[in-house]
């Protein structure tokens, strides 16, 4: 009798567990008028520094050379949204605290994106606010990012800050080979204060994109009008050649782009030239479920290997303790004016191999990526591991190794090695 009662009790418990396991009511997920989400992200970095490099002396002009630096960063990102019928108000803001042995800085909560969107229907929206546009099909880099801040090729998915703009999106779905057409129009005003990072002249800076899904191919035609930046236009495409193979490409032409070169003595020459940039790439999924991304990027307005070597040679001289204050100040001004932007060269090869759930490691991922400056043969290789098995948590470990000869891009970076451990909790 006891056995029967025990069995019945166990069965009841099992039944209740099963019922609990498989209960789902959509009503629990009704749309809320107000939403608040975000994440907290602690990050630990261990940097192997090139203490004798010009990059080190530029970053830490008063510090003695050192070989390593441990850094901790705590980032908080908050995202709020109010859904009021056809009107949506939203904002995404970020704050951070960075500490290491040489510096400690707090970045107050800054709105990265935010504004209001009015949907006149599924095919027509009007938007006003600070927005991040992401044009182009390139994974690591893009040549058609006409109205956005540069992408960090070493962390392409990192969130970026937008520009204040007004935009309209019109979309129409069609029968036939051209199955979708979409037009985006943008005005990105600059007046010396607004969008100062984009330009400081008084301009409206119009831009537009026409998207087509034609013959199963994504095609974009893009244009940026002359204003704070010079006129540019471009085209990109993406297409699946097979269920496991995608190819993509970009081509851009910029009129009267300023090309700056610095010789070893610090003499700066700026020329205006029409320049062409392009990118070709593919994404391939192997039978072993390894995704390969390979991209070749050419930036006609970038620094050639000899131009870059001359600039690095100048930096090396200008940042020496014996250099004159004027020369050092000139080096710092040049670095801040864009010469030290990410990926300043002309030709790059990017290759990434990534595997989801490798070796049966469920929710795990492993990847290794290579970014190489093809002209000066310097490179950065980054193996990484990720894990998303715990609800709400994303964990990532990355090791970056940067190598190159003297006066090359990756051979002269501040750090020669970098280990990053990142944990993100989303709520």
């Amino acid at each position: 009798m006891k056995t029967l009662l025990l069995a019945a009790a166990l069965a009841a418990v099992a039944a209740s567990v099963a019922a609990e396991e498989f209960t789902f009511d959509a009503a629990e997920f009704e749309k809320k008028p107000f939403e608040l989400n975000g994440y907290v992200e602690p990050k630990l970095e261990l940097l192997g520094l090139r203490g004798d490099s010009a990059a080190y002396r530029l970053a830490y002009p008063t510090e003695a050379a050192r070989a390593t630096l441990a850094r901790s960063t705590l980032t908080l990102e908050l995202e709020g949204k109010a859904n009021l019928g056809d009107w949506v108000f939203d904002a995404r803001a970020q704050a951070s605290q960075v500490d290491d042995a040489l510096t400690s800085r707090s970045n107050a909560l800054v709105v990265q994106e935010g504004g209001v969107r009015y949907s006149a229907g599924p095919g027509l929206t009007l938007d006003l606010g600070k927005r991040v546009t992401r044009w182009g099909k390139g994974y690591a880099l893009t040549t058609v990012g006409f109205v956005e801040r540069p992408k960090d090729a070493t962390d392409p998915t990192a969130s970026r800050e937008g520009f204040v703009m007004a935009s309209v999106d019109w979309t129409r779905s069609l029968p036939g080979s051209v199955s979708a057409i979409s037009f985006t129009g943008i005005l990105l005003p600059t007046d010396g204060v607004t969008n100062a990072d984009f330009g400081r002249t008084n301009d409206l800076n119009p831009a537009a994109k026409l998207y087509l899904l034609a013959w199963d191919t994504d095609i974009d035609l893009m244009w940026r009008g002359a204003g704070a930046k010079t006129e540019a236009w471009g085209v990109d495409f993406s297409r699946n050649l097979a269920s496991n193979l995608e190819v993509h490409g970009e081509w851009a032409r910029q009129r009267n782009a300023t090309h700056t070169a610095v010789n070893a003595n610090g003499a700066v020459s700026s020329t205006l030239q029409d320049s062409t940039a392009w990118l070709v790439g593919l994404r391939y999924l192997t039978q072993a479920e390894v995704t390969w991304v390979a991209e070749w990027v050419h930036n006609g307005n970038g620094q050639t290997d000899s131009e870059w070597a001359s600039y690095q040679s100048f930096l090396s001289t200008a940042t020496q303790p014996v250099a004159s204050a004027a020369l050092t100040a000139k080096a710092q001004t040049l670095a801040l004016s864009g010469m030290n932007r990410p990926n300043p060269g002309q030709d790059y090869l990017y290759v990434k191999a990534s595997a989801s759930e490798p070796w049966g490691w469920v929710y795990g991922s492993a990847a290794v990526s290579l970014m190489a400056n093809v002209q000066d043969h310097s490179w950065q290789i980054t193996p990484e591991l990720g894990y998303t098995g715990w609800t709400g948590w994303d964990m990532r470990a990355r090791l970056s190794v940067l190598r190159g000869a003297a006066l090359t891009e990756f051979g002269e970076k501040l750090a020669s090695n970098k280990l990053e451990l990142t944990t993100r909790y989303s709520f």
């Binding site: 396991e21 498989f22 789902f24 009511d25 959509a26 009503a27 997920f29 009704e30 749309k31 989400n37 994440y39 859904n83 949506v88 949907s119 229907g121 599924p122 095919g123 929206t125 991040v132 992401r134 044009w135 392409p156 998915t157 990192a158 969130s159 999106d169 979309t171 129409r172 779905s173 199955s179 979708a180 979409s182 985006t184 998207y211 899904l213 199963d216 994504d218 993406s238 297409r239 699946n240 097979a242 269920s243 496991n244 995608e246 993509h248 999924l285 479920e289 995704t291 989801s356 759930e357 049966g360 469920v362 929710y363 998303t388 098995g389 609800t391 709400g392 994303d394 993100r424 989303s426």
Partner: protein, 278 residues
């Protein structure tokens, strides 16, 4: 006289041809025996005739309609259950229109909120809020980890993606359909679908790679009335020899007919799918 009679069935579309070859002439005395044999042969052919009577393609279309209206919205919860009992849950909102358009939005967990997927025929894209633009993906990639992959989450209709290679209704309660992918774009090359004869709903589907390797088995359970004439399994359990001792469960709720504009199924709308939810 001696004859060989039978039924020979081909692959998609399911066709059966009867063959009846005359081997030679016999005397009149044997004719009665022959007649009896022919009767016996005919008797043996009755199941085969019934077999041939089932239109596999029509049945597959009926199964599609019984599972979902052609255009609908639904909420799904995916639960990945690890061998140690740990669970990870995902909640998706999905809209589908016609035979080849589908869009899904992740509502849970917080780390995936806002992620959306779009399918137009064989074209498939993923939108990650952090990336901010749609990226083309393949149907075989897993968007959640665990046993379910894109093809399970973004499945259109069986009749759109598969030909019926063979129909077997020798079981009194079941019909077994052998399905072959129409193109190489489809994630699973072959399916063996066991169908409830009375309800015209799947009970079990085994999915195979082109190599013949079993990739996963889906079990359809818990038939529920969703209203609006939709009565279908509310639970799909999945296991896979590739994920030993793992189990994934997909639960349906809020499935109802809904017709949304075509523009919803475009790249530009991927960041705005949330607007469809009421």
């Amino acid at each position: 006289m001696s004859r060989i009679s039978g039924v020979r069935c081909g692959s998609a579309p399911p066709t059966c041809t009867f063959f009846n070859y005359q081997i030679g002439l016999t005397n009149f005395q044997n004719s009665i025996m022959i007649t009896l044999k022919n009767i016996a042969s005919l008797a043996l052919l009755i199941p085969a005739l019934a077999f041939a009577a089932v239109d596999g393609v029509a049945l597959l279309k009926k199964i599609d309609r019984n599972l979902e209206p052609e255009s609908y919205e639904s909420y799904r919860k995916l639960i990945n259950i690890e061998p140690n009992g740990d669970k990870k849950e995902f909640v998706l909102y999905t809209v589908k229109k016609g035979k080849d358009k589908m869009a899904s939005l992740f509502l849970q967990p917080a780390s995936d909120k806002g992620r959306s997927t779009l399918r137009q025929g064989d074209n498939m894209w993923m939108y990650l809020p952090s990336v901010g633009k749609p990226v083309r993906i393949t149907s075989l990639q897993s968007v959640t980890g665990g046993v379910f992959n894109n093809a399970d989450i973004m499945r259109l209709e069986y009749a759109v993606e598969y030909d019926v290679a063979a129909v077997d209704e020798s079981d009194a309660k079941l019909i077994t359909l052998q399905l072959k992918a129409k193109t190489g774009e489809v994630a699973y090359d072959k399916l063996t679908m066991k169908v409830d004869k009375k309800l015209s709903l799947p009970l079990e589907i085994k999915a195979y790679a082109s190599s013949g390797m079993l990739l996963k088995t889906l079990y359809f359970k818990d038939i529920k009335d969703f209203g609006g004439g939709i009565k279908r399994p509310a639970t799909i359990e999945t296991d896979s020899p590739l994920y030993k001792d793992f189990k994934s469960v997909m639960l349906y709720s809020g499935l109802k007919k809904r017709d949304v504009p075509d523009e919803v199924f475009t790249q530009g709308y991927m960041a705005r799918i949330e607007e469809l939810r009421k």
